[in-house]
């Protein structure tokens, strides 16, 4: 009897304290990859989130911010377990992060079924943009197909007639391939989907030999994280430079470039890629973000970081609009939907499926004033572009 009373007293105490914590703090769970080689991406996101929290003085409206990082280990099952933990044990208000589409697809239900808000800071799988869209899901990045669609347009403009396509064999890889194929008007002469995950294929000798013998004008690839650097290196070693032009999405970024520079692979200078953001976008928020990130970490932030920074600012804008009252979910949702904050990419809006409607730019790899390799915007390829799955979303 006594034991029972003690237990209920403890439970009551725990409920009481968590109740208090609820009242004056906003809890945010951030799921990213902090182990395996993909941890370089996770670290970039973490650095950016920490910078964002510093910029807002760790406050959103009247509430203190309590942030919990979780590591998905680059695996959907671990990502889901960690998301469950954030939702059930930590009882967070927002879950954000998510580099990988397959991890997001596995984890989304846990957050959405619990009536919490899910903000993807990177992954944009077609499923969640279309049929599986949800009122509590928002993206601070893009839908997977959009960036390669922009690249397809650029290829048409440059007069590329035939293409060889390579991407990893997982949810996002398939979206990327579909994206470029949907806008590219020339012929796709061949396609390779390579093994992906913690034991991803990194030696592309067989695929590069196939690409070369296909005789295509150009090569389109999507290899995020460390695979990107490895790919560029092998592309150059295989002697394809100058034979088959390389066009990439999410491959040549601030994570790959310092390593390519250290490896002396100057062939990547001048190569083109598409993206919704670039370190050189001119607006006050971006200049502050990029310059302080550079000063602190000695390297440029990546788009992963920029989107994570935006995710925090998006949440802040919503918390401020509802004046810290997170119990009114409808109000929070309406506030998020306005995207009323200074995004580092510039102003954007949300479509019916809560994917951003935004510009996509053509970027070129250049050397900055201090000799660091970075990307610079050349032109705007798509203006206020909405993803093709929005029409499948009944919302």
């Amino acid at each position: 009897m006594l034991r029972k009373t003690m237990v209920s007293a403890l439970i009551a105490g725990a409920v009481a304290t968590s109740g208090v914590a609820q009242a004056d703090s906003v809890k945010i769970g951030f799921v990213t990859t902090l182990t395996t080689p993909a941890a370089v991406i996770g670290e970039d996101m973490k650095n950016s989130v920490e910078l964002a929290l510093e910029h807002i003085g760790n406050k959103m409206g009247p509430l203190d911010v309590e942030l919990i990082f979780e590591d998905d280990g680059f695996k959907p099952d671990i990502g889901k377990t960690k998301t469950d933990k954030l939702v059930k044990q930590d009882d967070v208000d927002f879950v954000t992060g998510f580099i990988w589409s397959h991890v997001l697809l596995a984890s989304a239900k846990s957050v959405l079924d619990a009536d919490k808000f899910l903000i993807s800071a990177n992954a944009g799988p077609s499923q969640i943009a279309g049929k599986r869209c949800h009122p509590n899901f928002f993206s601070s990045s893009w839908q997977n197909d959009q960036t390669p669609m922009a690249m397809g347009e650029h290829l048409n403009q440059t007069g590329v007639k035939s293409l060889y396509v390579m991407a990893p064999n997982y949810a996002a890889g398939k979206d990327m391939v579909r994206g470029v194929e949907s806008t590219f008007k020339g012929k796709v002469l061949g396609k390779d989907m390579t093994k992906w995950g913690a034991d991803a294929q990194l030696d592309f000798s067989a695929e590069l030999a196939k690409a070369k013998s296909s005789g295509a004008d150009a090569l389109f690839v999507f290899y995020p994280g460390k695979a990107g650097g490895a790919f560029i290196k092998q592309y150059q070693q295989a002697g394809l430079q100058g034979v088959m032009d390389l066009y990439t999405v999410f491959t040549v970024d601030s994570i790959a470039l310092p390593k390519l520079q250290a490896g002396g692979l100057s062939g990547v200078l001048g190569s083109k890629n598409t993206q919704q953001w670039s370190p050189d976008i001119l607006n006050a928020a971006n200049q502050r973000f990029v310059s302080e990130y550079l000063a602190r970490h000695g390297k440029y932030p990546s788009f992963y970081g920029a989107q994570s920074y935006d995710a925090i600012m998006l949440i802040k804008s919503a918390v401020e609009k509802v004046n810290g009252d997170l119990s009114d979910k409808d109000a929070v949702r309406a506030a998020l939907k306005q995207a009323d904050f200074d995004s580092v990419r510039g102003k954007y809006s949300y479509g019916n499926n809560h994917m951003p409607i935004q510009n996509f730019y053509l970027r070129e790899v250049v050397e900055d004033g201090e000799g660091r390799w970075t990307t610079k915007i050349v032109s705007t390829v798509l203006t206020n572009h909405q993803d093709p799955y929005a029409k499948d979303c009944k919302m």
């Binding site: 395996t36 093994k195 460390k226 490895a230 070693q237 295989a238």
Partner: protein, 307 residues
């Protein structure tokens, strides 16, 4: 038929096979002679790459990096044998697996602490970054170097195993360990040398691949599974078996990656073939292993006299 593509792919298969051989030869000796399952063999592959990369970053010379890397990884291998493996030879396989799995985690974390998560690019001298042209064929110089090194090590190992006293002991140990001990051979020293040699070969493989794929945490864990398949297909304890099995698996993997989608396209719609081919080519080596285990469980080339 595109012959230059086929030749390129055969050479790519040979390169992959020789890398697998460098890993698997040490593994098969350690497994065959000491009856020790070393899951952390892949960690030597990773550490070799990081040692080499660090020395290259300091000295700027890839060759000095390889030499220092080899010495370093030999010492690490010897230390692992001396302090850890030695205590476990008499325990059963489950203990080996548990301890060496623990070692993987320790080595991965140590590398994370020492070198960070971002991986390490190893720059090559310009002459190795180019290509060799033979008629229509354009072959990356560095991949040819890997093939040369792999064949060289295989030849050295052959001489060592077949022509020297140490090799005789190694072969005897693989066939019948108890008898070697009974004849008064210092088995501890033999084990130490074989273990360190195996580690050095694994490390060498890591150094060779790192300029292509970069050194990264856990890089050995991906390939060690395939190396175990090589050991099983080739016959446990057989260096010759490891050599042939590594080449067979390397070729099979490369050729299926290059031609399976075309072949499948003859039987099914192209869109299905495109999805099925990568999945199937990732499975092929395991299908081969299953077939070998079913029809010839001692492996294709078991050591003479092995039970």
């Amino acid at each position: 038929m595109d012959w230059s593509l086929l030749i390129t792919q055969l050479l790519n298969g040979l390169q992959l096979g020789l890398l697998l051989f460098l890993l698997a030869s040490g593994l098969t000796l350690i497994f065959g002679i000491m009856d020790f399952i070393n899951l952390s063999h892949g960690s030597f592959y990773m550490i070799g790459a990081y040692f080499c990369g660090t020395v290259v970053a300091i000295t700027g010379s890839f060759f000095i990096g390889v030499v220092f890397g080899l010495v370093g990884i030999f010492i690490v291998g010897a230390a692992v044998e001396w302090f850890i493996a030695r205590r476990l030879y008499r325990s059963d396989h489950l203990d080996h697996v548990l301890v060496t799995f623990g070692l993987i985690l320790i080595f991965d974390t140590l590398v994370h602490l020492l070198w960070g998560a971002q991986g390490m690019a190893i720059p090559l001298p310009d002459m190795l970054n180019g290509q060799i042209r033979i008629g229509e064929l354009v072959l990356p110089t560095y991949r040819m170097l890997i093939i040369g090194c792999g064949l060289g090590v295989a030849a050295l190992l052959y001489v060592l195993v077949v022509r020297t006293r140490l090799g005789m002991l190694i072969r005897a140990g693989a066939s019948n360990r108890t008898m070697v001990e009974a004849l008064g051979i210092n088995i501890n020293r033999l084990f130490l040398v074989v273990f360190a040699l195996g580690a050095a070969m694994a490390g060498f493989a890591g150094m060779l691949i790192a300029p292509i794929t970069e050194a990264s945490i856990g890089m050995g864990n991906d390939i060690i599974i395939v190396a175990f398949v090589v050991v099983i297909v080739g016959g446990i304890g057989s260096v010759k078996g490891a050599f042939y099995a590594a080449l067979i698996l390397g070729m099979m993997d490369t050729l299926s990656r290059s031609y399976l989608d075309v072949v499948l396209g003859w039987f099914m719609p192209v869109t299905y073939a495109e999805t099925a081919a990568p999945a199937l080519s990732a499975m092929l080596i395991y299908i081969l292993m299953a077939a070998v285990l079913a029809f010839r469980p001692q492996g294709l080339f078991p050591p003479a006299g092995a039970k």
